[in-house]
């Protein structure tokens, strides 16, 4: 249903996302994992046509028969919020503080041609669908009167308003408490038609997705079925991330990945991970291709 082929994102001379390709089938839940600065949010924003000024995407991305990248804004606007929609990380900045939340849910429907009174009624139904208590009252509340979890549910109601084919969630639970996070994840899993779920938290994605893409330095370095990738990681970066996600007993050293993610444009040539990789050799100065059917990896010295 969603097909991305050779997606590149650039800001002037700096390449931020390099040759990203993947597909999402109807009903499929795909996870996009990576640290801050790996290019995962830019990938999502380029699908939504929401890249910041000065940042441009090229390549092909199609939702069904419709192109998403390299088409005029008028076409993207027609799809955004209808055929595909997105839940952002920070509900406090994504919601309009001066508008009642019911009106914000209704707005996305009137924008796509639904009559006003009908949109208002449907907004309350949607707030009920995302399990907000007393949806009629919540619809009249302003964002600041709601808790973080409630605000994120409102964001989800907005995203679902026009019955999208694909839902993109960018770190939707990072700002939430663990018990609230669990409810929110269960809800997303239940209502998402097809899902692209972005996070840096591997444990969160383990409960949500069937397939994962691991991004680092603007490239997909490993992809495959979640269980395969998480139990038998091939790329050394994935291996490091998994090791770092497990908390060892007290008094022991936590495994870490050496160094930190370089700023955009400062990744090494060849394999983007080679300056932090314990297995790097001169061979890594040449860029490895993403190879393998099903479970693919881009590494010269993969783990077994």
């Amino acid at each position: 249903m969603l097909t991305v082929e050779g997606l590149h994102v650039r800001a002037d001379a700096v390449e931020l996302v390099h040759d990203v390709s993947f597909t999402i089938a109807p009903g499929e839940r795909v996870g996009l994992i990576g640290e801050s600065g790996s290019g995962k949010s830019l990938t999502a924003l380029s699908l939504m046509g929401l890249l910041p000024e000065g940042v441009t995407a090229s390549g092909r991305a199609r939702l069904g028969e419709r192109d998403l990248v390299g088409v005029p804004e008028s076409r993207v606007k027609d799809l955004r919020g209808r055929a595909l929609s997105m839940v952002f990380q920070e509900p406090m900045t994504a919601l309009n503080p001066l508008m009642r939340v019911g009106a914000q849910v209704a707005e996305v429907m009137t924008l796509h041609g639904r009559p006003r009174h009908e949109a208002r009624e449907r907004a309350v139904e949607l707030l009920e669908r995302v399990r907000l208590p007393e949806p009629g009252q919540i619809a009249r509340a302003y964002p600041h009167q709601l808790s973080g979890g409630q605000r994120q549910r409102v964001m989800l109601a907005i995203a679902l308003a026009n019955g999208p084919e694909l839902l993109i969630c960018d770190e939707p639970t990072t700002a939430l408490d663990v018990t609230v996070q669990k409810q929110m994840l269960d809800l997303i899993a239940e209502v998402a038609p097809a899902l692209l779920f972005i996070t840096h938290d591997l444990a969160v994605i383990a409960s949500m997705c069937e397939r994962v893409l691991v991004m680092y330095g603007g490239r997909v370095v490993e992809s495959g079925p979640l269980r395969d990738v998480f139990t038998r990681p091939r790329h050394r970066y994935t291996q490091g991330l998994l090791a770092a996600s497990r908390l060892t007993p007290r008094g022991t050293r936590l495994p870490t990945i050496a160094g930190s993610v370089p700023p955009a444009g400062r990744f090494p040539s060849g394999c983007v991970f080679r300056n932090r990789c314990p297995h790097a050799t001169p061979a890594c100065e040449t860029t490895p291709a993403l190879t393998g059917d099903g479970h693919a990896h881009a590494c010269w010295h993969p783990a077994d």
Partner: protein, 266 residues
């Protein structure tokens, strides 16, 4: 609760903190919010004490009281045998020298217009202590390059900024380090580096650590003792391994079940 030789380092007894909501009527006072209800805790010397709770549980209020950044409505806090509640700021110098804090978000806790050298030396200047070569010593201890001193916070990554915040907290050679969600804003790969660094420093310097987190699994890695907070009360306390293995309070059980984990899958 494990107590060490002599008096405990921090002893809080029956702390209550009531806030008033802004009034909504001319004739009635604003509603009272009980942020803390009858909270008592004891932190021994050299202990690693974890406080777990979600937003609104009162853990930040408790922390502010322990650091004397706020005063309790009732109750007492003794630090190293001395009462710290009800004292004016000028009589809290011994506390400021001996207890320092690392905050959650190194983006907002470091002044963007100050160089790292001045940021790290600021607690010393505030206490009137000589800085000498202390800044370089501290930057080295937290694993930052010597050249870091002349740069600004925005030139560092999140993990490096948290290292700067730790160096700053350690400047006056405190006995107690209070860490308020020090790794919540960091990526997983960096989280391990900071937790390892904290463990090393606590060992080397013989610090007492008060570690606040919403994540019980992180507290289990770091601390020996844990207090679980909910709705302004400590609902469960004890050795963290016992609480982890056999949570007694329903809230602790809910908290444990909600933590996403890789273990079930792998």
């Amino acid at each position: 609760m494990p107590t060490h030789a002599g008096t405990p380092l921090i002893e809080a007894v029956s702390l209550n903190r009531v806030y008033r909501r802004p009034r909504t009527s001319l004739t009635r006072p604003g509603a009272a919010v009980h942020a803390l209800r009858d909270v008592s805790l004891t932190v021994g010397r050299g202990e690693r004490y974890g406080i777990v709770g979600e937003s609104g549980s009162g853990k930040s209020t408790l922390l502010r009281l322990l650091c004397a950044l706020d005063q309790p409505t009732s109750g007492s806090i003794r630090f190293d045998g001395q009462e710290i509640t009800g004292r004016p700021e000028r009589r809290l110098r011994f506390l400021r020298e001996n207890l320092q804090i690392v905050f959650q978000d190194p983006m907002s806790s470091l002044d963007p217009r100050m160089r790292v050298r001045d940021l790290v030396a600021e607690p010393l200047a505030a206490l009137g202590l000589p800085a000498g070569d202390r800044v370089n010593e501290l930057l080295d201890a937290v694993g930052l390059p010597a050249g870091a001193a002349d740069r600004y916070p925005h030139q560092f990554s999140g993990g490096q900024r948290q290292r700067i915040a730790i160096a700053r907290a350690l400047a006056p050679r405190p006995k107690v380090l209070v860490a308020d969600e020090p790794v919540s804003a960091l990526d997983v790969s960096v989280r391990g580096q900071i937790l390892n660094l904290l463990a090393d420093l606590v060992d080397e310097l013989g610090l007492t650590l008060v570690f606040v987190s919403h994540d019980l699994s992180v507290v289990r890695h770091v601390c020996e003792t844990v207090a679980v907070m909910s709705k302004g009360e400590i609902v469960e306390t004890g050795p963290v391994d016992d609480v982890w293995a056999a949570p007694a309070h329903p809230y602790t059980r809910a908290l444990l079940q909600a933590v996403p984990t890789l273990e079930g899958l792998l």
